[in-house]
């Protein structure tokens, strides 16, 4: 099983892809997923995180099958 990873906007361009998959293992946090999917890139200070389409913090522990999204500050409206 696995964690689905998504990148949006400037972050998608910087990381070089919109989607990724990270292998699930018990105790995996959002921060772990970021490190794994970006090969250790520093987490931007203004980074926003959503787990299963709801805003979440970096220390959230994930469950198998979760969708984790990383994106910059939003600029809609």
């Amino acid at each position: 099983m696995a964690i689905t990873v998504k990148f949006f906007a400037r972050l998608r361009e910087e990381v070089g892809r919109a989607d990724d998959v990270v292998a699930f293992e018990p105790g995996l946090s959002v921060t772990d997923v970021w490190r794994s999917a970006t090969h250790g890139r520093a987490m931007p200070e203004s980074l926003l995180v959503a787990v299963n389409m709801a805003y979440a913090r970096g220390d959230v522990e994930l469950r198998d099958g979760d969708e984790v999204a990383f994106f910059p500050p939003v600029t809609g409206g």
């Binding site: 949006f8 906007a9 709801a54 994106f71 939003v74 809609g76 409206g77």
Partner: protein, 147 residues
């Protein structure tokens, strides 16, 4: 309560009129408030040619519905409507329409403002401006007042 992401241009006045005409409780409505956001030809000192607007399919709709639900539970609203563009947007085109209906004006206007401010702060949309010969991501939304 309706929330829609639109990939094509829309007429916010016609949309609000059509939605209002479909509401049941006409006799209970004393007030409607709206906010319309449009693409300007200048932003932060640069001439803007057009814009590309990206969203997070699924989460964006969910988040807009959450904002509207929060407004409906905080104020005695009769209904609310949010339409938001995505894709390639030209100067003068509507980016967002927020409309609220209530018995009383204070409730309608406060809720409309709450929805657009929360949308600006937290709804997952990202703007990329095409300038003369270059592009740039908009870094963050501003307070909404001229300097």
């Amino acid at each position: 309560m309706q929330v829609q992401i639109r990939a094509e241009p829309f007429d916010p006045h016609a949309e609000m009129g059509r939605y209002q005409a479909g509401l049941q409780s006409r006799g209970a409505m004393g007030a409607a408030a709206s906010f319309i956001g449009m693409l300007r030809d200048h932003n932060e000192g640069a001439a803007v040619r057009e814009m590309q607007l990206e969203h997070y399919p699924g989460m964006t709709e969910k988040h807009l519905l959450d904002i509207c639900s929060a407004a409906m539970s905080r104020w005695p609203l009769i209904d609310c409507l949010v339409l938001h563009r995505t894709g390639r947007i030209r100067i003068g085109e509507t980016i967002v329409l927020v409309a609220t209906w209530a018995a009383h004006r204070g409730d309608a206007m406060d809720a409309c403002r709450f929805i657009i401010e929360d949308l600006k702060l937290r709804a997952p949309f990202w703007k990329k401006e095409r300038l003369e010969g270059s592009e740039r991501w908009v870094e963050k939304n501003t307070s909404g007042y001229s300097l």
